[in-house]
Amino acid sequence: MTQTIKASRIRWHIVVFLAPAVLIYTAIMIFPLFNTLRLALYSEVDNVRVFTGLDNFRTLFGDAYWSETFWNALGNNFCFFLIHRLVQNLLGILLAAIRSHPRLRFAGLYRSAIFVPTILSFVIVGFAWKLILSPIWGIAPDMLDAIGLKSLYAPWLGKEEYSLTTLALVSVWQFVGIPMMLIYAALLSIPEGVIEAGEIDGITGASAFWKIKLPLILPSIGIISILTFVGNFNAFDLIYAAQGALAGPDYSTDILGTFMYRTFFGFQLQLGDPHMGSAIATAMFAIILIGVCIYLFGIQTRMRRYQF
């Protein structure tokens, strides 16, 4: 008797509780995503939208001009990501390690100061750094002059060879607070007992960090890396705020986000092409998907976890 009731009863409360999230997520994420994928298969000919299959992708990867722009943007994007991974992770670990030092004074102040840029708008960050680095009004040339290193100054944002690195470092400056907090939290969660056990075995100071703490915070670093990867390959705002949609000088800061924006919405005399833009967006989606999959199946599953 009880069994039949249990089997036939649909547990409505689950549906009700899930519905808001599912509906909202479907409306603002899943539907637009699939519609973008669909839009990439169309083209507009004489004011009429026609189905063209994979033509947009053939143009994107086959046409000399389009493919050159695409590979340039992708290459810049990898560069942007690698600078983030290296500098942001190292700085994050360093800052977290310093912050977890028990005798550090004003720790709260440092945490706030380092974390505040994260909550600033990209527009403010882009504009502020443009002014700081400006050869005309900026404080960067004056500061270098004050310590006698004026010769090191260059108009970084205006030079092809430095602009992407400069913007990547600005972005690192903005977001370094997040890895710092996550790694700090991971460091705090290491039980005292483990460290004390290490001390008894003679592992102290720096080697305690390398041999005990670092392996224990590796999963956090993995998560941070994958978040950075997704963030970087979706990035657009900082470049747009600092260099405009043409991602100058000479496309040296062009990443997939700015390339997609330019194509989708058009720029100056170039009319927008939503279908080609969707094709680029689809390529971005695929790249991020592949990256995340490599991480999930190649790295995450092999990562060793420690239970205490």
């Binding site: 000399a64 001009y65 400006s134 260059a154 108009p155 205006g158 000479d250 100056q268 005399l269 009319l271």
Partner: protein, 417 residues
């Protein structure tokens, strides 16, 4: 009780205005020039309504960056105003092709405009004109007249004089010779290449030959301006690579630079900001006595919504826009935006007078990349920005730039293949 009275009052006003509307025709203007709202409300519309009783005009602008998108959706939904402010070239041509703009070729006032003025709002074969030209902007150089007087310099007319003046300012050292940066890229193309270029490619002659496929971007007249731009680098301020457009404007109006490669739209802003005397000279010719050409770029026009129920009244307004009265009101209220009509318009601003005087001395042309040639991918206008910057920085030779631009254009434009 209170609310009831107000409600009644509101109802009465609505009915009254409804009755008034029944007699009058109300025209609505779509525009991106929200800066000009007071000008339209206080000056232009009253002048028109005084002469044309029974037609009321409402100016309803939207934000410049959103204008194209807003207008397109309004037109598709059938809720757009009767009169549409037209962007030059392809954006408006697309509206005409989609049947949103009416053909105005037979409008009486059209005879008051030259072919160059109308070219921005015509079909490619010139058979139909769909917007009444309103204003153009002229390129040249604005200079700090006080600085020139102090250094004993006069405005140059030839290229040799131009560089001699720059050398003299540089040697003196108290001013940056020329205020321009390459960070935003467009100034290098718009105020650089398309400012000095028409003297090389002989204005309309070269521009039309390029469109027809008779000249190519690798020809000397199209490459030489890049070589001249390359010489500019020595005279721009330190770190010009990262100098933005507002930086350049501020450097000039603060009196730190002597020459500013300009468009006439700067005039009202500079008048408000600079506290020194300013003068202007046109793009220098190569040899004394050469024919001169200026970039007199068509920028803004007005068209008729093909679906407008008030087409008759709208045509009356568009006809009025071709009269000398409108030309005079518009040009004086917005110095630097010059009427495109053939009427001679008296302007009060001396700098604007200087700019417009070049029209009598030189041949007018528009920016070489705007008509037809920026329709495909790669976009010639955007590529020209990058090329002009590369020329100034010296990262590519003028010949390589010409070849790259030509290859890009030929990849999609049949007459150049």
């Amino acid at each position: 009780m209170q609310t009831k009275t107000i409600g009644l009052a509101l109802l009465t006003t609505t009915m009254l205005s409804g009755m008034a509307m029944a007699q009058d025709v109300t025209l609505t203007i779509e525009s991106w020039r929200n800066d000009d709202l007071t000008l339209w409300q206080d000056t232009i519309i009253p002048a028109f309504e005084a002469e044309n009783p029974g037609i009321r005009v409402v100016f309803s602008p939207s934000a410049p960056a959103e204008y194209n998108a807003v207008l397109n959706s309004k037109l598709d939904a059938g809720s757009a105003g009767d009169l549409i402010t037209c962007r030059p070239f392809d954006a408006s041509l697309a509206l005409y092709d989609a049947g949103h703009l009416a053909d105005l070729s037979d409008l009486g006032g059209m005879a008051n405009f030259s072919d160059v003025a109308k070219s921005a709002w015509q079909t490619d074969d010139g058979s139909a004109t769909f917007c009444v030209p309103m204003a153009s902007v002229i390129h040249g150089f604005i200079y700090n007249a006080d600085a020139f007087a102090e250094l004993g310099l006069t405005a140059p007319t030839t290229e040799a004089e131009f560089f001699a003046v720059l050398d003299a300012i540089k040697a003196d050292g108290s001013y940056i010779p020329m205020a321009m940066g390459t960070n935003d890229q467009w100034e290098a193309a718009t105020m650089g290449y398309n400012n000095i270029g028409p003297n090389y490619w002989k204005g309309e002659e070269g521009r039309l030959a390029l469109i027809a496929g008779e000249q190519s971007l690798t020809d000397p007249q199209w490459v030489a301006p890049y070589a001249t731009l390359a010489r500019w680098a020595d005279y721009l301020g330190d770190g010009y690579e990262a100098q933005t457009y507002p930086d350049s404007q501020n450097i000039f109006t603060l009196g730190r630079a002597a020459i500013y490669p300009a468009g006439s739209w700067e005039i009202s802003g500079f008048n408000a900001q600079a506290d020194f005397e300013m003068g202007a000279f046109r793009a220098p010719v190569q040899n004394a006595g050469d024919e001169c050409y200026i970039s007199d770029h068509t920028d803004i026009a007005m068209g008729l919504n093909a679906a407008s129920p008030n087409a008759e009244a709208a045509r009356v307004f568009l006809y009025w826009m071709g009269t000398s009265e409108f030309a005079s009101i518009y040009a004086n209220a917005l110095p630097g935006f010059f009427s495109l009509s053939n009427h001679s318009v008296a302007m009060e601003d001396p700098l604007a007078q200087e700019f417009v005087s070049w029209r009598d001395e030189c041949h007018s042309t528009i920016r070489s990349t705007y008509q037809i040639l920026s329709r495909g991918t790669p976009n010639l206008e955007n590529e020209t920005w990058g090329a002009s910057v590369a020329a100034i920085k010296g990262t590519s030779s003028p010949e390589d730039l010409g070849a790259a631009l030509q290859a890009g254009l030929a990849s999609w434009y049949a007459p150049q293949q």
